[in-house]
């Protein structure tokens, strides 16, 4: 049986936020909930922690129904997005707080705090107060307070979103290598899809009211169940293009304005059977290349005009106009391209997504 089970939970304030949301997390699993800001991710965590009462549904933890348990009796621990460190206590006292609450003896407290702070490399800050340490150190202190309690479920609410890119990368690595986190179930909430992809054993993409897709990083990124999921994961955002599927010369083709090119072999059969001539094409920027090198038999080369080009560091982003459609693609950052320049684009059609123009669901999946 799963370690943590959420069964049809409902929670609303003026409007419903969580609507019959269900998922489960195994022991040792690092489950990431990824979604746009304001969608209800924090509400979800707060429900699991017991800080919000459910309007409906049940929460099972380690086989027991904890739906009615108050937060101070559930064995969950949470890091808040704002860290919620006690400003009048030192780092030591902050981290020791759960142990003090359970009336642990001072010797054990000292030993456990030392263990945790050495692990998180903040053992030199024990006497400082929260306002005397940096953002990254505060985050680690908050994490220490969560870890020390040895709860059954870790709840991490956007723990690194307010830190700069360098520290985020370091802390991501730490999340990967911390054994403690792998001993119990963890729910990690973020709005940064890259973090989600990097850290999650499984990722739940959150939409209005619930999780629209649950899967591994590769699954949700390369096989999104809907346009919403595809749109949320990826920077720059996926290209969304209205197109038609037509039969020509015995093959299924994509018609984009005046352009026509064949549907990739692996998609043709399913798309044929779906009988949906109008589609929304989803093309990830990384699957459009500059130049004419054919990556596979399922590629098409077309000419386009450069609209804008920006070198963003390790890569470049270009917007090019393909017969009236603007497409965003990734390029290298060393070359320079000016507006109006003619370029050749190679589209990898085997990586195209086909979404229903109204519902947005991925036509390749299910009925």
């Amino acid at each position: 049986m799963a370690h943590l089970e959420l069964i049809e939970i409902c929670k609303g304030f003026n409007e419903p936020v969580l609507d019959r949301l269900s998922f489960s997390v195994e022991k040792g699993e690092f489950f990431v909930v990824d979604g746009p800001s304001g969608i209800g991710k924090t509400t979800l965590l707060r429900c699991v922690a017991g800080l919000e009462t459910l309007d409906g549904g049940r929460i099972m933890l380690d086989g027991q129904d904890v739906t009615r348990e108050p937060p101070y009796r559930r064995k969950t621990a949470m890091t808040f997005e704002s860290y919620a460190l006690y400003p009048h206590l030192t780092v030591f006292e902050n981290i020791a707080s759960p142990l003090i609450a359970h009336k642990t003896d001072p010797a054990t407290i000292r030993r456990r705090v030392q263990e945790v702070t050495t692990l998180l490399r903040i053992d030199h800050l024990l006497d400082r107060k929260p306002h005397e340490i940096s953002g990254g150190q505060k985050q680690r202190t908050a994490l220490g307070r969560t870890l020390i309690a040895k709860p059954k479920v870790f709840l991490l609410d956007e723990p690194i979103s307010h830190l700069d890119a360098k520290i985020r990368a370091e802390l991501r690595l730490q999340f990967h290598t911390l054994e403690e986190l792998r001993e119990v179930a963890t729910i990690y909430v973020t709005h940064d899809y890259a973090e989600a992809l990097s850290l999650g054993d499984r990722i739940g993409v959150m939409g209005n009211g619930g999780l629209v897709q649950i899967g591994t990083a590769h699954e949700v990124f390369l096989n999104p169940s809907s346009l919403f999921v595809a749109r949320h994961l990826g920077q720059p955002s996926i290209n969304e293009v209205s197109a038609e599927l037509v039969q020509e010369s015995g093959m299924l083709q994509v018609a984009l304005g005046a352009l026509k090119f064949p549907v990739a072999g692996k998609h043709a059969a399913v798309l044929q059977s779906r009988n949906q001539p109008q589609v929304t094409l989803g093309i990830r920027p990384q699957h459009i290349r500059l130049g004419t090198t054919l990556k596979s038999t399922d590629s098409t080369t077309l000419s386009a005009k450069v609209e804008v080009f920006e070198a963003l560091g390790a890569y470049g982003v270009m917007m090019a106009n393909l017969s009236g459609t603007s497409l965003t693609l990734l390029t290298d950052s060393e070359s320079h391209y000016s507006a109006g320049e003619d370029v050749s684009l190679t589209l990898d059609t085997s990586e195209f997504f086909y979404f229903h123009p109204e519902t947005g669901s991925n036509l390749m999946l299910g009925a």
């Binding site: 017991g50 800080l51 101070y72 949470m78 808040f80 704002s82 006690y86 759960p98 609450a101």
Partner: protein, 279 residues
């Protein structure tokens, strides 16, 4: 702003502040020198701005009357007890209003409590006399003043504590719940330390009101209990008011609030700026 404009503003500011300082400090200065003058000098036709003779004995003189010391002690008893009571009740009520009674009912209740502070105290002067007269301990007792001053201090304490509690991030209490603290323990361990500077400033405000109150003390008490404002009129000789002794006594009565304020000024600023350290 150019250099010359800036300098002009600075000079004007200095002039204005000097005038303001003279205006506010002069009464205190005059009070001090009056307290050091002999009787003859205080009644001189042309007031002197520096005592011709220094009579430090005035200060010893006021305590020749045992009532003086008693009055200061009575004031202390009443003001401290009332402050503690106001603070205790106000903190509990403020917390309830901040955390539990949100929404229309809570807002209205909070406003009604504050509105009690808005009417002129003299309006309830006579009713209060009759009210306390009907009690077993009567009007002339410590308890009557302590309870009476609640009428004015409790709304203030409640309202201010409510604001301070509202400012204290709820998340810190929630973190405490997740640590395993029950709401009661969380209140003492986390919330109270956060609003502590606020509580100090609330205590100061309540205490100063209770310490200086004259109108009700004069009407209700006078024999068993005599606070210092009520004792001041006793410095007369026949039909003449001994202003030098009055001033001396006032200087002494002023000392506790001033000393406290200087010691606790850090808390006054922090408390009244209604901001809580966000860790």
């Amino acid at each position: 702003m150019s250099e010359s404009n800036y300098r002009l503003v600075k000079i004007l500011l200095l002039v204005f502040l000097t005038i303001w300082l003279l205006f506010t400090l002069f009464p205190l200065y005059f009070q001090l020198i009056t307290s050091l003058k002999p009787v003859a000098e205080i009644n001189a036709m042309i007031p002197t701005f520096w005592p011709k003779t220094l009579r430090l004995g005035n200060y010893a003189g006021i305590f020749a009357d045992p009532g003086s010391l008693k009055s200061l002690i009575d004031s202390l008893i009443v003001s401290v007890c009332n402050t503690l009571l106001s603070l205790f009740l106000g903190t509990l009520a403020g917390y309830a209003l901040a955390r539990f009674l949100k929404g229309v009912i809570g807002e209205n209740l909070a406003f009604w409590i504050l509105s009690n502070r808005m009417f002129p105290p003299v309006a309830v002067l006579i009713p209060m006399f009759f009210l306390f007269d009907a009690t077993p301990w009567g009007t002339d007792s410590y308890i009557s003043l302590i309870l009476l001053y609640l009428v004015f201090n409790l709304p203030l304490a409640t309202w201010l504590m409510m604001v301070f509690f509202r400012d204290a991030p709820k998340e810190l209490e929630e973190a405490a719940y997740l640590d395993g603290y029950t709401p009661l323990r969380a209140f003492f361990k986390v919330t109270l330390p956060l609003v502590f500077p606020g509580m100090i400033s609330v205590a100061m405000l309540c205490w100063i009101f209770a310490w200086n109150e004259y109108l009700f003390a004069n009407l209700l008490t006078g024999t068993t209990v005599k606070t210092f404002p009520v004792h001041i009129p006793s410095f007369t000789s026949g039909s003449q008011t001994l202003w030098n002794l009055v001033m001396a006594f006032s200087m002494v009565a002023m000392l506790p609030p001033v000393i406290l304020f200087i010691l606790l000024r850090r808390y006054m600023v922090r408390g009244l700026s209604l901001g809580v350290v966000k860790g």
